[in-house]
């Protein structure tokens, strides 16, 4: 059952001497000239490396990029991406000097200003509430100004606005969207500041808000940090365990190697996510435990590659030569085997980070491991699933983020693999 892997024979004619010359090309030049040799793959690596760097920067300083805190309730719930917030807004005549609610304040003795609102709408409540808030602040300040507007109620939107045009009322309070509908009919009126809320949130949210009014975009940026922490730390732990075990097994051989390989192969064949589910179930939920669970899964990935490479390097003549001149085992390991194994490990690491992020997202999607309020992509997607009928953005954006980060790490690894070690592709 010879399962021979034919290496490309088209590449070079028989006994080519220029292969040797290729090896003499230095590392830096190799990377630069690689662009011509590899075309698309070189660009994949370059673009994805830039993307990876960007993601790492975001993960390090999410606060610099995120407009809000991931946990702050900054807007109304279920606001669609880009939709402006429907705030009650102050409407005044074009000529009026009033720009915000506080401008309506008058001295204690003067006539209280009248403000028009439409009957039966929450605008009156908002006006009252905000006025009282402002009044509380300004009544103790020097100048003796008070803000206690008299509310005039009208039957329709048109009547409300007409009252301001006619000068019966100093201003009106109307929902922005309502005002926008009839704006053309009232050219002498203009929109002043919103009565409540801030101008910033009035502009809406890039990716909308979730069920409790948190900013999806800010949560997404903060989620980068958790994804990368999980991805990197579990990959590093796997690497720190898998590489020495692989070196040892490949180098020592014998029963130790056979037993360890049997175990590692079984672990490798088993569906990783299911095992991770089991492990987090036993360990209990926490970020650390998720990392432990994922790192157990990926030990075999490093083990197999490193063991295989160690075996083939060991067979090579120069190791024989080194041994025959009496080099110590450790010396051989350090001087000959380790340097040969490092490039493949680096490549595997990149792909492994991607895998770990995916598995981590899967675990938190299932609600295992992380506290359910944390700004994590998997958790946010799971949260969005409950509102799939109404809020598509709650699912779409965190999922896209997972995909992009995983894609960047995968492409970087794959491209590097193609360039430095085509054989690794069949993991």
């Amino acid at each position: 059952m010879a399962k021979t892997k034919e290496r490309p024979s088209e590449a070079l004619p028989e006994g080519a001497t220029w292969e040797v010359e290729l090896k003499r090309i230095g590392f830096v030049r190799r990377i630069l000239t690689a662009r011509h040799w590899y075309g698309a793959d070189w660009w994949f690596v370059t673009i994805s490396t830039v993307a990876v760097v960007v993601f790492i920067i975001i993960a390090l300083f999410p606060g610099l990029f995120a407009p809000y805190s991931p946990d702050a309730l900054v807007g109304p719930s279920f606001l669609a991406p880009g939709a402006s917030v429907d705030l009650p807004v102050l409407i005044v005549p074009q000529s009026s000097t009033v720009n915000k609610l506080q401008d309506l304040a008058v001295p204690e003795s003067a006539d209280r200003p009248t403000v028009a609102v439409e009957q039966g709408l929450p605008t009156a409540g908002a006006l009252n509430e905000e006025s009282q808030k402002i009044d509380e602040v300004i009544k103790n300040q020097p100048g003796g100004l008070r803000l206690r507007p008299i509310i005039d109620r009208y039957a329709s939107l048109e009547e409300t606005l007409q009252a301001v045009v006619d000068g019966k009322d100093k201003a009106a309070v109307v929902q922005t969207t309502e005002f926008n509908k009839v704006k053309a009919q009232f050219p002498t009126l203009r929109e002043a500041a919103p009565v409540s809320g801030t101008a910033a949130t009035a502009g809406g949210f890039l990716m909308g808000t979730n069920d409790i009014g948190q900013d999806v975009f800010s949560r997404l940026l903060w989620g980068t940090r958790i994804a990368l922490i999980i991805g990197f730390s579990s990959s590093i732990i796997s690497l720190l365990l898998g590489v020495p075990l692989g070196l040892l097994a490949g180098f020592a051989g014998g029963t130790f190697d056979r037993l360890l390989s049997l175990l590692m192969d079984s672990l490798y064949a088993f569906p990783g996510l299911i095992l991770a589910i089991a492990i987090t179930a036993v360990l209990g939920p926490s970020m650390f435990n998720i990392i432990v669970a994922i790192s157990v899964l990926y030990i075999p990935t490093y083990y197999r590659i490193v063991r295989g490479q160690t075996l083939s390097v060991k067979e090579e003549v120069y190791i024989e030569a080194a041994r025959s001149i009496g080099a110590r085992q450790l010396e051989i390991l350090r001087r000959y085997i380790f340097p040969n194994v490092i490039p493949s490990v680096a490549i595997i690491f990149s792909v492994n980070v991607a895998d770990a992020i995916l598995t981590g997202a899967g675990l938190s999607f299932l609600g295992l491991g992380l506290p359910p309020t944390l700004a994590d992509w998997g958790i946010d997607v799971a949260r969005g699933q409950r509102f799939i009928q109404t809020a598509w953005w709650m699912i779409t954006f965190p999922g896209l983020a997972i995909m992009l980060v995983v894609l960047a790490f995968t492409l970087m690894g794959e491209g590097l693999m193609e360039i430095f070690n085509p054989k690794l592709r069949e993991r």
């Binding site: 034919e6 698309a40 175990l263 079984s266 996510l273 699933q385 699912i395 779409t396 997972i402 995968t410």
Partner: protein, 365 residues
Amino acid sequence: MSPIAIIALIIGIPSLLLLAYVFVRGSTGLRRYILTRIVLTLPMIFILATMVFFILRILPGDPVSSALGPKGTPEMIQSIRTQLGLNDPLIVQYGRFLWSMVTLRFGNSLVGGHRPIVDEMSERFPATLELIVPASILALLVGVYGGALAAAKRKRALDFSLRIYSVVIYSLPIFWFGLVLQLFFGVRLRWLPISGRIDAVIGTSLKTITNIYSLDALLTGNWPAFFSVLQHLILPTLTLGLILSGVFVRMTRINVIETMQADYIAAARARGIRERVLIYGHALKNAMIPVITLIGLQVAILLAGAVLTETVFSWPGMGSYLVERISARDYTAVQSVITVFAMLVALISLAVDVIYSLVDPRVRY
């Protein structure tokens, strides 16, 4: 007869017939190969199960106290531990665990009606089967054809697109992909249902025999139920199948390209055989031999994907059972499900190896 027994017969009888055929017609070498492979499957199941057992035991953390949460008094924890046999020596627990695997008596579940876990699983398992079989077929069709196509158009736009496809598919979180399909086909277009196995109303009319609903509907001639099942199957199958196809495209492409470098392809080309025939007739056929083995290794992706797909589509299979039981802290059930998954992994890889031996004449003769 329980559904699980019927399924065992449905899968078992054709497999046994196939094996019998192989034994009668095959060469001594083939017979020996398949026998060895069958004999080797048992230790593989044993190792996987042992691994599951020890990972669950060796890790720090106590399932009982984490199940009870802060309410659990030490006395309560102790009494449940004794009840579950967790206070026995490890070796005794291990022995009991292995015995439960042989007899398939996993005990009763801790929650709900305290039904035997085997009964619960025999309702769930057919659902998983109904999902992973069509998904694997879809993945194979897309993967093998796409991979061959990419190899045929190597370094051209189509090849490039297919490579992008496989990398992007590989990077997609499967649960998210399922949700996006739901959003588009279920919520936006309202074409397809987004959860469950069958329409609730029609479901009441379906008489279950195997618990594989599509099969039951066919057997009983219940067409409305059959179409309802198909409708419900489309999105989960697309989710799992397409995610899996990414890896297959990639593997087929690489192997076909590599096979195209083989001497016998050059020799066939020198006999005037056209490129199309070389790729689809010769190279693809040969490339399938390593691809089959590689596909066998993707069982892990298939089953892990099934867990997430089932959760997303409220598909009452083994995967969602596992997730439910973890939330319910039903430790016995969790261990049993994972053990069954281990057995499934071993059996699927056995099946793949037998198929491999039938495809490759170098093994067959």
